[in-house]
């Protein structure tokens, strides 16, 4: 699904991504962890070109996203993204938030879009909020709207950029539940998170990043029990 080859990215002098290579297969759930500033979000944002990389190659579903000939908007239609700060559209109702890209990008009729949106709102458990504006919703509810909005495009891949980091503790569960259900349905997911419980339960592979590079990657069992790298051990000791 996603092929990342020898990717470098600089922010001025800072090396944000340092020779990163990674393959993600259909249906796979990848969790990326690491200290802040380690490049995990940058890597995730490079996959749908919210960040442009300075060297290397990224292909998504066969499309080389660095090729100027590639229509990035077409590629992005197939990649759902969920942000730390939700980024729901405050001037639109919950239903219209989810309808917007369906009608504008996918060219679905208003009726068809609303049917899909309603279905998704039931799935994420906030159908009763359809006609509310996001300002009246809790953080957890807004994030579920954001997830539904991304799913409405029927993406082949979902990117989650610390989806629970801006939430009050009591709301983290409701968002993680939605994500766990999504994983069970077989969605290909790349998740940047600090939720180790989620990583253990859902991930097929855990990627540990530090200083812009992938330090270690392994299945959750091996990763948490027998990390091979010193830096991984140090990090796990700090957070567990």
């Amino acid at each position: 699904m996603v092929k990342i080859r020898n990717v470098y990215k600089y922010f001025g002098q800072l090396k944000a991504l340092d020779n990163v290579s990674l393959d993600i297969y259909d249906g796979e759930k990848i969790v990326i962890i690491g200290p802040s500033g380690s490049g995990k979000s940058t890597l995730l944002r490079s996959i749908n070109k919210l960040e442009t990389i300075d060297a290397g190659q990224i292909t998504v579903d066969g499309f080389d996203i660095c090729d100027p000939e590639t229509n990035i908007n077409k590629v992005r239609e197939e990649i759902g993204m969920v942000f730390q700060s939700f980024n729901v559209f405050p001037h639109k109702t919950v239903l219209d938030n989810i309808n917007l890209a369906q009608t504008v990008v996918r060219k679905r009729s208003k009726k068809e879009a609303s049917e899909i949106s309603t279905e998704l709102l039931k799935k994420v458990g906030i159908i009763e909020k359809s006609d509310e504006y996001p300002g009246k919703l809790s953080g957890g509810q807004q994030q579920r709207v954001a997830i539904a909005r991304a799913l409405a495009m029927k993406p082949k891949l979902m990117l989650f950029d610390e989806p629970t980091s801006a939430l009050d503790p009591e709301m983290i569960g409701e968002v993680l539940d939605v994500m766990i259900n999504l994983a069970k349905e077989g969605m290909t997911m790349i998740v940047v998170t600090h939720e180790m419980g989620f990583a253990r339960e859902v991930a097929d592979r855990i990627i540990f990043m530090d200083y812009g590079a992938i330090v270690e990657e392994d299945t959750p069992e091996h990763f948490f029990k027998n990390p091979t790298q010193e830096r991984t051990k140090l990090f796990l000791n700090q957070i567990l």
């Binding site: 919210l50 077409k74 700060s85 917007l100 990008v105 495009m153």
Partner: protein, 265 residues
Amino acid sequence: MGEITGTKETKKPVIAVGDGPAIPSKSDVGLFTAWRISFVSAIAIVAYLAISKPDPYLAILKFVPDGILVTFQVTIEAILLALVIGLFTGLGRISKNRFINGIASIYVEVIRGIPLLVQLFYIYFALGRVVNLPAMVSAVIAMAVCYGAYMGEIFRAGIEAVHSGQMEAARSLGMTSSQAMMHVILPQAFKTILPPIGNEFVALLKDSSLVSILAVSDLLRRGREFAAESFTYFETYTMVALIYLIITLFLSKLVSIMEERISVD
């Protein structure tokens, strides 16, 4: 238009001098009553003068309404055109395309550096030698081109005030940048720029008195015509000033009400 650029703890006092009227806000009790006193007294004085001394005051009141209509016509046509120019200028100013950005920025710098009166003369008299534009058309174009530059800055500020995550979210859903701008960014920016646009409208209405020098029969021009015939300069300009005052006070009140409504939402 003052810009606040305070960083960290070093807060410098900022003196913002706008060319629009001060918006009376509810929290500012002084301004609020000042508005009432000015508005009520202006109307009272006009009424008193017209009743107690119908000649010439009532005659003036009967003579100038044509001019008020023209003043509004110039103002509304100019503001509509300025909004269009301002939108494109604002978009140009945030464009990553260096050429477009350069053109928009130069336009803003040049126009803001030339007095409106000179621009009026330039479009009517200087360009008039090339294309012969009617006075009214020249007046509207000159006002719109001038205010378009200021509008551009308002649009730019309004667009930049929308959180960058909104653009990212829209783009990540596959929208093109213009789709994102139209459906996500501009509707949100519009809320913040509506009050300053209202202020520009009031400022433009006042500046529209400048078009009287192009022989456009606006409120001021009508007053001048009346005064020139009757030699009642003091009386006429008193009435003209009061009428301008009543209109601008009324409009600025509308703007402040609109602003309040928006902030409640």
